[in-house]
Each structure stands twice: as C-alpha cells, then as structure tokens.
Symmetry: C2
Subunit: 144 residues, 2 copies
DNA sequence: GTTTGTATTTATAACCGTTATAAATTTATA
DNA sequence: TATAAATTTATAACGGTTATAAATACAAAC
C-alpha cells in the first residue's frame, strides 16, 4: 500500500507536472481531504502551515491539475467551484440543508443514452440534490 | 396542440405565479429558445423588443421560476448559469469546441446508485463534456 | 561560484456574473 | 379616488476567478 506522499509524487510525475513544494501540498491536501473543498478552504488551511502562501498559487495549481486531468472540478454549486482528486466514476449529492457534498456509487458508463452518436465524450458528471440522511433524521425527530 | 403563449399562461398559473408582462416574455423566450440561454442572452434579445427592460427583471423572473420548479438551472458552465424550461429527465452535453450545449436522452431514474439510502432526492442532473459531432467532423476533414 | 535564463510564486488590480437595495412604477384593494 | 401591495428599474455592492507584473526560486551555462 503506497502512502499518500508517495502517490502525490507518482501522480504528478505521471502527468509531467514538476513537483514544486506548493503543488505537492495542494494535491496532498486534496487527497487527504476528500470533502470536495473550495479554493478558500484549501487556501486558509494551508496558509496556517505556510504563512507566505498566496491564494493565486492555489488557483494556479488547481487549474493546472484540472487541465492535466489529475483533479476534477465539481460545479454543483452555483457560486464556487469545488475540487476532487478522485477522478474515477462516482456521483455527487449536495444536501440543500447542511450544504455537504457526498460521494455516491454509480456506474456512469453503464447508463444508456440516446442522441450522442458520433459525439466524443471526455467526461461525465452526475449531480443529485436533496436532503441527506442526517438532516432528514433531524427533521423527522423534530416533528415528533 | 396547445400553442406556446397558452402553455406559458398554464405553467405560470399551475405554480401560482402572477403572469406579469415581463414574466410571460421571459418564460416564452425560454420555451421558444431551447438552447439553454444565459441571462445575458435573454436580456439582450428581449431588450431589443422592450427597450425599457431591466436586467434585474430577468434575474428576478428566473430565480422565481427556478424556486417554483418551472425552470431548471444548468450549471455545466463554470462562469455563468444557463436556463432550461424543459424539466423532464434529460442530459446535457457541452461541446468544448463550439461551446454549444446539447440535450440528450437518458432515463436518470433507471440508473442504479449506491450509498444514498434514506437520502431524499429532489433533482438529478447529468453533464457530459467533449466534442460534438459537427466539430468532430470538421476536425477529421481538416486532417485529411 | 557567478551569471544568465526559465519557471514558479506572490501581491494586487481588474473582470464579470450575481445579489442587494432603494426608488419608481404598476397593479390590486378598499 | 385613495391606499396598500407587488413588480420593475437603476445601480451599488459582493465575491469568486482571472490577468498582470514584480519578486523569488530553480536550473543550466560559463
Ligand atoms: Mn467526489
Ligand atoms: Mn436541456
Ligand atoms: Zn444534510
Ligand atoms: Zn461543437
């Protein structure tokens, strides 16, 4: 079992991205924190560890990672982009109540679609919205 | 077969939205132009017909329609929201080349998913990205 | 080791889609 | 007609993202 620091290096090397100090930290953050963080969340967390860090570096790194297919942007929010280092097929559920974004299992490629003959498909995203189990529980217990 | 103006009235009445002049025009625009227009596109088109129109009215109307479930916001773009008066199950494909957003057929509710037990699902969105048939044709003919 | 060129990071201004606010106008009610 | 409520307008404010140029770090050549 490879450790996260090792995997960070491998992933960067795999995509021919020079492993600068900050890039390593940003990718590592995403691989440790799988809760689809925003730029602001990544920035404020890493800023505590490295006070000279600039927010532009977060944008630079993330845009590079997305361009190279290392990281997936999640546009389920209308206001800001979230980032996910898991690029394998899975769906995202946003709870309208607690705003948390959950992963869920779904095999996107097994889904039949029509009207896309001769279209070249690069990526597929599935977004569900609603109320998560935790929030639904709270609501139903409030009712009783 | 009901005409679009009739359907506009019915849809607004169905959701208890007062059919003001501008709301009718905005919804009518969305039902005629099924190309998932942005606020700017709706505004500049209607502004030509009604020069006193304010962009805030477009935002007001669309936000009301979305809130009432009459219109679906499409967040496939990172920069701006697009709007769709078709709320029935279908997917959206964005061509990275010509930027056009296509509808495609997909039965979202037939897709099995895991990890969402006891989650309450309000809406489902499916976004694909890639190169549309037209752009793929152009590219392959350029190669030859 | 020093010089020179390149890549990365930093700091900050600019951009732009959206929201908030208050005044003006229209519509409904008494 | 007078009054209240709803809608529209105009515009300022907000906030996430991008653009820009200077500063710093890194690498290659000498
Ligand atoms: Mn995820
Ligand atoms: Mn559509
Ligand atoms: Zn929740
Ligand atoms: Zn195209």
């Amino acid at each position: 079992m490879e450790s996260i620091p090792e995997r960070v290096f491998d992933k960067l090397a795999e995509k021919n991205i020079k492993p600068s100090f900050h890039r390593i930290k940003v990718l590592e953050y995403l691989m440790v924190n799988k809760n689809h963080p925003t730029v602001e969340q990544i920035y404020s967390s890493l800023k505590k560890l490295f006070p000279t860090l600039s927010k532009a570096t977060i944008y630079n790194s993330l845009n590079l990672f997305v361009e190279k297919g290392l990281v997936q942007p999640i546009t389920i929010e209308e206001t800001e982009i979230r980032y996910d280092s898991t690029v394998e097929s899975h769906g995202h559920f946003k709870c309208e109540c607690c705003r948390k974004i959950y992963d869920f299992g779904i095999d996107i490629d097994s889904i039949p679609s029509s009207g896309l003959d001769n279209f070249i498909i690069y990526s597929k995203e599935i977004y569900y919205r609603g109320i998560c189990r935790n929030c639904a529980d709270v609501k139903s217990s409030q009712r009783s």
